[in-house]
Symmetry: C2
Subunit: 282 residues, 2 copies
């Protein structure tokens, strides 16, 4: 039961984390899974510049899992640590069931729209800046180093932070609202990759996006492909008029000559991003 004393706009969103798809027991501790279950959902709120308030947490654990109680305690320690660091999001319910073989987590999050407005993916206009928070590809770099040999984890500590302890960009989304009219901002998180976020904004807003591949913030050990197509970075990708400090400008939005066909491409090489490289978690 949640009481809303004033008329308001609520935003709801839901994300699942599935064993063998989004995480494995070998690579993620229960604490890691809990943190990430919170982070990916709070990141959805950040992408709408909303204030996360409540969570429903559904967990299905296989009958074969040993020490279910301590697994749940560690999971909730991770989830609540992330919740507490991002506006004290409260768990108000959920469901705990068995499963046949795999762990399945499903979190729904309820947030309050910022009084200055809600940000949608479809609000980009031609002539705006494309800007991003943070940097890209570290999470994918960590995953690739794992794939190369389960024992040989990436030596870059930032890779591990990006992969295991993503930090939703709530404050960064608020900075966007401080400088811009919400109706003139399109915003997404990069959970499915930077390229995917750019495509989504282009398609929903019916604009073309021209970026400079060289401007994409990334560490030296991260490849351009990892930065473009690697997912799970949970950075913000925005089309807006005024760029907050700490954001990096990647390029501009352009009028689409044909609204049915929009492109995302590199300014210098004119190379178009490939559309079919949908991010795969494992």
């Amino acid at each position: 039961l949640i009481s809303l004393p004033n008329p308001c706009d609520l935003l709801l969103s839901s994300d699942s984390l599935v064993e063998g798809v989004h995480f494995t027991k070998e690579l993620f501790s229960p604490y890691d899974i809990g943190w990430k279950s919170s982070a990916v959902n709070i990141s959805d709120m950040a992408a709408m510049a909303a204030d996360p308030l409540y969570m429903l947490v559904n967990i299905s654990l296989p009958k074969s899992l040993e020490n279910k109680d301590s697994w749940l305690l560690e999971f909730y320690r991770g989830l609540c640590d992330c919740n507490d660091k991002h506006g004290s999001v409260k768990v108000i319910g959920g469901d705990l069931t068995g499963s046949l073989r795999d762990i399945f987590i499903s979190v729904s999050i309820i947030g309050k729209a910022d009084a200055r407005g809600v940000i949608f993916r479809s609000s980009a206009r031609a002539g705006q800046f494309i800007a991003v928070s943070g940097k890209f590809g570290n999470s994918n770099s960590y995953l690739n180093s794992l794939k190369a040999g389960l024992e040989e984890r990436s030596s870059n500590p930032e890779d591990e932070v990006y992969f295991l302890r993503p930090r939703p960009r709530l404050l960064e989304s608020k900075k966007i609202l401080e400088l811009n009219d919400s109706s003139r901002v399109a915003l997404m998180d990069s959970s499915d990759g930077l390229a995917q976020a750019l495509f989504e904004i282009a398609e929903q807003s019916k604009v073309c996006i021209e970026i400079d591949f060289n401007a994409i913030p990334k560490d030296p050990h991260v490849s351009l492909n990892q930065a473009l197509y690697g997912g799970e970075d949970y950075e913000l990708v925005a089309s807006l008029d005024k760029v907050p400090t700490n954001f990096t400008i990647l390029g501009r939005t352009l009028e689409a000559s044909n609204s049915k066909e929009v492109y995302v491409y590199d300014k210098k090489s004119k190379q178009k991003l490939k559309k079919n490289e949908i991010y795969r978690h494992f």
Copy 2:
């Protein structure tokens, strides 16, 4: 984004349905799974006499599942059929992901509290009637006939309806509010069995419950054990002052001599219900 023009109380609830635990592909069509995913969540709203409004639907499908598109279409046909029959509940979001081996469904439901109040499990008082909607054990009878031999389904058509097409008792819960003060009603659905619902009301409200085993509404082919401990009937179990027509009175609530230890027992035999018979789906 949902806009709430007036101050109001929202009720949120979430239930998972997991392959191999709550359903199997052999026994349930995608339509059946969709219907049940809606019904179990709307039933949670009925147990609080709330008006269901919105749903978030998370689905994880194994990579090996053939014809995913038609599976999803049939699932949503079942889910929406049940939604439309119970106040036009709208699906406003969710998540579709892969899974390694099993199908996982997780639905969150958002409802509006009835202006006359919210019903909790903890509001029973000594001296009230214990009354129930419908009848019990048909779902378990169907499940048992399946277990006896997968080919030999129960010949009783009502068993199949209870098992595959449960009907949440929304209207029945409203009838309770028409006759009673919401602060003097305790209510649960019998998804985990009649006995479990009685225990829950007794423990949350700190009352003893005296019922007449012979008064439990059940079909002749259903055993008392099936009616008491078989789950998934989604009937309403209430402690209240005034009993609506179409409800059956099973017994009364009594002052508990020791609030730490409450009992549910048969009036004639004084036989106490067993507490450890937690309902298992499969």
